[in-house]
């Protein structure tokens, strides 16, 4: 189950990389968050950790529903371009993404020797981080960049749930708070742009 959800997470992320539509991107992000939320919940039930379950549900609500919704509203409201073409040519991405995955596994290999279980999760999280960065790189559009930033947040969360089996409650809540604040700020930025 865990492996499947991690796979889904990566798959949605990679798909997002190849999308050329803004709404498609938002959708992939939402699916990405969904798989993450499900992963958290399932791990939470497996190790019987309430914090994890709660944060999983929070993710489910906030990241896979509320934020995509707000983003979509914002993009409609401010008339953002819906056509987004990646800067990095597709043939490079095709080579880069597997190379990154290989690299991260190579990177995490020493950890396996020391800690046995979690190394692969670390590797996948790091590769997710790289992929999200790639998402930011390949788009000039600001909305796409924001989604890239949000997927970074997701890969952080993935790392938090898989590699450490959840973080302290306070930290998780804090992260959520900051995420919301970021959205507010983004909103404000757009708004003032419209005013001026």
């Amino acid at each position: 189950m865990t492996s499947f959800l991690i796979g889904a997470f990566l798959a949605t992320l990679i798909s997002a990389l190849f999308t050329s539509r803004l709404y498609g991107l938002i959708l992939w992000y939402s699916l990405n968050s969904l798989s993450l939320a499900l992963l958290a919940i399932s791990i939470g039930f497996k190790i019987d950790d309430n914090t994890m379950i709660i944060s999983g549900f929070l993710t489910l609500i906030v990241k896979s529903a509320v934020i995509p919704y707000i983003l979509k509203k914002v993009s409609i409201k401010f008339g953002l371009a819906r056509q987004i073409t990646p800067n990095v040519p597709v043939y490079y991405s095709i080579m880069l993404i597997p190379a990154l995955l290989v690299f991260t596994f190579y990177l995490a290999e020493p950890i396996t020797n020391m800690m046995s279980s979690n190394a692969n999760y670390v590797a996948i999280s790091i590769s997710a981080l790289f992929l999200s960065l790639l998402l930011i790189i390949e788009h000039k559009n600001i909305a796409a960049k924001i989604i890239g930033f949000l997927t970074i947040e997701n890969s952080l969360f993935l790392l938090g749930t898989t590699a450490t089996n959840g973080m302290p409650m306070l930290v998780e809540l804090g992260i959520f708070f900051d995420l919301l604040m970021a959205i507010v700020i983004i909103n404000l930025l757009f708004k003032s742009e419209e005013l001026s």
Partner: protein, 626 residues
């Protein structure tokens, strides 16, 4: 905190000797300075800081005063801003002085283990345990000698010293440079032990080159203060010749010869302080009256400014190392110590020493030529500009300063044994040996220490000269010869200010001989009459020496920095639109490097990393060409 041993006291004495006449001169000069408070604050700060350096007992105090010395002198240069060149000179000075400061700092950081408040003895222990003493020596040399203006770190000096107000130029050239010499004594004796022979040879060669380069560039200068500043380079070179010989002898375990050479260096430091201060004061008075530093605008000033002229003449004779002046005596001592090397069996020395002798001798010859030029063009003949015509003697305070300083020069000449006793005390402290009685068995004659050394009797020489001159004069008077004042004959040509020899012309033969060094930029324009090459109404000739070191070392490094900064700038601006890609790449490379260097290193993986990074940078950062 502070140290008051014989070395320090000696240099305090030197500074005081330089400062007291300067105070008079400075107060005479004061009415012509606009920013009086600024000037006075920094002037006294400068003096105090010089005193502070020579009595500093630990690294912190030393560095603090050293820096204060740089700061105040920098501000003093900026007292009177005439044009952009002053600002540029000040900047250059400030930069170079801190260039040296950094090396001093490194030196002290190594020898104090970071605790800057320990005294010199503890430093010596740390320094002797340090694995690379030569490194320390280089730091000390770079730090101190860049202040002293030794080739090739001399380029700032001919710009900075002339830019300051004249009393300050006198202090900077006369006194401040000696503080660097003090540092050399202090560092080499009290901190570094176990000198290597090569150190001494290095100092010797640096001294030889400096003396030659200094005097050669002085000859080609027409700015009187820049000329004097170039002579400071020369004289520091001469001091270093003595110092280097002292080091060589000491590392060869010949303490008496070494003490003699060090005494020669000290003596020349004192002498240079006295006559260079006096020369700068004289130049300052001239500048003050004529409002220009250009020697081509002077002429005939001896009639209007006799005191300035004759004190200047005294200093000129002394700096030209003509007997029986003090300048001659110290150069004589340095020659003697070079001569003392005859018995040394070391091939590098056998080659270095004849070269040094040659350099010192040539320097002496050129210095005479140079000071004939300075004195002759400035004070003799006809005035070459209106300002020079209307010049008159400077005010009483300034005159007092100059007279006091000439008394210092004369005292160094007359009371050589007394000064030698002082120097002997210092070398006695440093080398634990006293050679005063060998040098002066009686006060009339001064003996060299080396086996076949010579003897000189300054007082007898002076007395002889006076007696002979007076007796010839008495004959002249007794003959009762008539004299008549008439036009200059000059083979029948008319004599005017324009037909006189100019400073450029005077140095012409020498400039022509040393063309390879000067690489002069000559412009010759004439308005010919009816196509005749040899007949012309009007002609102008200007020549500009292109300083070799400035061009090759400094301007090229500035050029290099400019170029480099241009590329970096382009690179950095390129980053602006691709922040995320930059982060991606740096993250990748950092992680990769950590994986490789921290976990398991192999060249293959390193190569792989490089390839991956190049590809990734190419793809993400640079992108496809459009």
């Amino acid at each position: 905190m502070f140290i008051f041993d014989k070395l320090s006291i000696l240099f305090v004495f030197l500074i005081m000797l330089g400062v007291v006449p300067n105070l008079f001169y400075s107060f005479g000069y004061l009415p012509h300075i606009k920013r009086k408070v600024h000037y006075l604050v920094h002037y006294f700060g400068f003096i105090i800081s010089m005193l502070g350096v020579v009595v500093a007992g630990n690294a912190l105090v030393f560095l603090l005063f050293w820096e204060l010395m740089s700061l105040t002198s920098w501000q003093l240069i900026l007292t009177e801003i005439e044009d952009k060149s002053t600002i540029k000179a000040a900047r250059f000075y400030f930069f170079m002085t801190h260039f040296g400061f950094v090396f001093l700092l490194l030196f002290f950081l190594i020898v104090t283990n970071g605790n800057l408040e320990i005294d010199f003895n503890s430093m010596k222990i740390i320094a002797s345990n340090f694995a690379y003493p030569t490194l320390l020596f280089f730091f000390a040399v770079l730090g101190l000698l860049s202040k002293a203006g030794v080739v090739p770190m001399h380029v700032w000096l001919p710009y900075a010293h002339p830019a300051a107000p004249s009393p300050v130029s006198a202090l900077m050239s006369g006194v401040m440079l000696k503080v660097a010499i003090y540092g050399l004594f202090r560092f080499l004796f009290d901190i570094l032990s176990d000198w290597q022979l090569e150190w001494g040879v290095l100092i010797l060669i640096l001294g030889a080159i400096s003396s030659l380069v200094g005097v050669l560039y002085a000859l080609s200068e027409h700015d009187i203060k820049a000329l004097l500043a170039n002579h400071s380079i020369e004289n520091i070179g001469i001091i270093l010749l003595g110092f280097g010989m002292g080091m060589i002898f000491l590392s060869l375990k010949l303490p008496t010869l070494s003490a003699f050479a060090f005494m020669a260096a000290l003596f020349h430091s004192f002498n240079h302080m006295s006559f260079k201060s006096l020369l700068f004061m004289g130049a300052g008075s001239v500048l003050h009256q004529t409002k220009t530093k250009n020697m081509e605008k002077y002429g005939g000033l001896i009639k209007a400014m006799p005191i300035t002229a004759f004190t200047f003449l005294l200093a000129s004779i002394s700096i030209s190392a003509l007997p029986p002046t003090n300048g001659f005596l110290s150069e004589w001592m340095i020659f003697q110590s070079l001569l003392g090397s005859a018995s040394i069996d070391n091939i590098s020395l056998k080659l270095a020493i004849p070269f040094s002798v040659f350099a010192l001798a040539l320097t002496g010859g050129l210095a005479i030529a140079c000071f004939v030029k300075v004195f002759g063009i400035t004070f003799l003949g006809l005035h070459r500009s209106t300002n020079a015509k209307h010049a008159h003697e400077v005010n009483a305070m300034m005159k007092t300063g100059m007279i006091l300083m000439s008394l210092v020069v004369v005292s160094l000449m007359l009371f050589t044994p007394f000064y030698m006793k002082l120097f002997d005390g210092v070398t006695g402290q440093l080398l634990h040996i006293s050679i005063y009685n060998k040098i002066f068995p009686n006060i009339w004659s001064m003996h060299s220490i080396s086996d076949n050394g010579g003897i000189v009797s300054p007082l007898i020489l002076l007395a002889g000269l006076i007696v002979l001159t007076l007796s010839i004069y008495a004959i002249y008077k007794s003959l009762n010869i008539k004299d008549r004042v008439y036009h200059t004959w000059a083979c029948g040509y008319n004599t005017s200010a324009k037909t006189q020899y100019s400073a450029t012309g005077f140095a012409g033969p020498i400039r022509r001989f040393f063309t390879w060094l000067y690489n002069p930029d000559e412009h010759f324009e004439k308005e010919v009459i009816a196509g005749h090459k040899t007949k012309f109404k009007d002609a102008s000739f200007s020549v500009h020496v292109r300083p070799l070191f400035e061009r090759s070392l400094y301007q090229s490094s500035v050029k290099w920095t400019n170029k480099m900064s241009y590329y970096v700038y382009r690179l950095a601006h390129f980053e602006q639109s691709r922040y995320a890609a930059m982060i991606f790449n740096i993250l990748l490379s950092v992680l990769f490097s950590y994986r490789i260097f921290v976990h398991e290193f192999s060249w293959a993986t390193l190569a792989l990393e490089s390839v991956v990074m190049i590809i990734s940078i190419k793809v993400l950062l640079i992108g496809d060409k459009k």
